[in-house]
Amino acid sequence: MNQKSYFQPEDLKKFGNITEFQEAMGTKFFDYYNEVFREGALTAREKALIALAVAHTVQCPYCIDAYTSDCLAKGSDEEQMMEAVHVSAAIRAGASLVNSVMMMNQVKQVAM
């Protein structure tokens, strides 16, 4: 184990142990979590791709680790997974850029 890193890949397997300190809330969370990822109006494969994209937005290494394997297991390929990450990146970039309209408005308001 690398003692110099806060992130330990082995900890991913211990995720379920969060109920140790707060059982009721932890159990409710996992029930909800499992329900969310069940096959529904969206397929489990599509949900895994969304999870992968969001994992990159929230920059959670555990989630990226878990959902990379999950996407592969559910039949997605590299191209699809990278496109999902680009969706995440595009929304991030867009979220910055769309606010530039405010900057532009302000420039037009105050500048000659």
Partner: protein, 354 residues
């Protein structure tokens, strides 16, 4: 014959893993510093099973040789163009005698590429005459590898063979990484040829099933979800139809074991299999309803045991002495690789178990 190689056989590379005793040693002893893997027999015992016993025999799986036109990176047989082990006509005749005498309903022909055995078509015709259900585990590319195999689709159809065709993914990158450059394109051509003679088409009794196995160190996803996605993508991109998709877990044997060790995934993969042990799969394990015959006529509980040279635990362990009664009393031979068949939804040559 066109050859598609992702790698060469362990045997031709003189890799130590080509020795089955060495493989068994690896499977039973994690690398230095790691704690011992929980033994498969312990997991069985905890599930209330002291000895795994056979149920009704319904399939004779015949591995007609290790010769193959492909050398896939994950091959549990270590098959390839450089392998010379081929089942002789004499051994195939013993198989026919056993099928006939004990009314075994299904013969499941595997390899290597089974169609490369020079007696393949004769054997199929004889099985057809006996009226048994015939399955062929076809790698697809053999059909387009040489003009002399181009009529295989018609031959399969004439003998009502159920096809179990390997295709790990509907994308070329995932498929070719595992099976060799160009395999995906050739597989698509072969699937179109099979569709053209009625295989996999609606209102046809010619069954075309795909065998999918993960192209890496992870377990297969939900089989029904994968089937839907494969159907959607293969139809959309190539207008290909098929009946069922079966997901098979990669067992840590031969070249997949080599891949796991070399990629640093061996221990985590074994641990994943062990943690996913599912007692509900035990009643459905394929070793309980089948006997596997090796190229030289020896009998095994499954094709994986065959590759590890773990013969059936019976005095009558050769096809020439085939005795269903004696075999029904045996204990099925298990080892650490068996975790591959009991993980999650379970795995067999026919896909998920539960």
């Amino acid at each position: 014959m066109s050859i598609r190689q992702a790698t060469k056989s362990l045997q031709s590379r003189h890799n130590p893993l080509a020795e089955t005793m060495f493989q068994l040693d690896v499977l039973n002893h994690p690398s230095t510093g790691a704690s011992e893997f929980k033994s498969f027999t312990t997991s069985l015992r905890e599930a209330g099973v002291n000895h795994l016993k056979p149920l009704k025999l319904d399939t004779l799986q015949v591995n007609v040789g290790r010769l193959c036109n492909q050398s896939c990176a994950h091959c549990h047989v270590d098959a390839g163009p450089d392998r010379t082990e081929i089942m002789t006509k004499a051994v195939l005749e013993y198989c026919l005698e056993a099928i006939d005498r004990f009314n075994i309903p299904t013969v499941d022909i595997t390899g290597g590429a089974p169609e490369l055995n020079p007696h393949f078509r004769w054997f199929v015709k004889e099985c057809h005459e006996l009226g048994c259900h015939i399955m062929d585990r076809c790698n697809l590319t053999i059909i387009v590898s040489n003009p002399k195999y181009a009529d295989l689709p018609q031959f399969f159809a004439a003998h009502e063979i159920e096809l179990m065709c390997s295709l790990p993914h509907y994308s070329s990158i995932r498929t070719d990484h595992q099976r060799g450059a160009g395999v995906f394109d050739d597989s698509i051509k072969a699937l179109k040829m099979l569709n053209a003679v009625g295989y996999g088409k609606e209102n046809s009794n010619l069954e075309l099933n795909l065998i999918q196995n993960p192209s890496g160190a992870f377990l297969p996803g939900d089989q029904s979800g994968l089937e839907l996605e494969f159907k959607r993508q293969l139809k959309r991109k190539y207008d290909i139809d098929f009946n069922r998709l079966y997901s098979i877990t990669n067992l840590p044997i031969n070249r997949f074991l080599e891949y796991l060790i070399e990629s640093g995934n061996y221990e985590s993969y074994m641990q994943t299999l062990i943690e996913a042990f599912n007692p509900a799969t035990i009643d459905q394990l394929m070793c309980r309803n089948m006997i596997s015959v090796g190229w030289n006529g020896y009998l095994y509980d499954c094709d994986f045991n065959q590759m590890l040279e773990l013969k059936v635990a019976s005095a009558k362990n050769h096809i020439r002495d085939f005795d269903e009664v004696a075999l029904s009393e045996r204990n099925i031979v298990v080892n650490q690789h068996c975790y591959g068949c009991t993980a999650g939804a379970g795995s067999s040559c026919g896909g998920n178990l539960i």
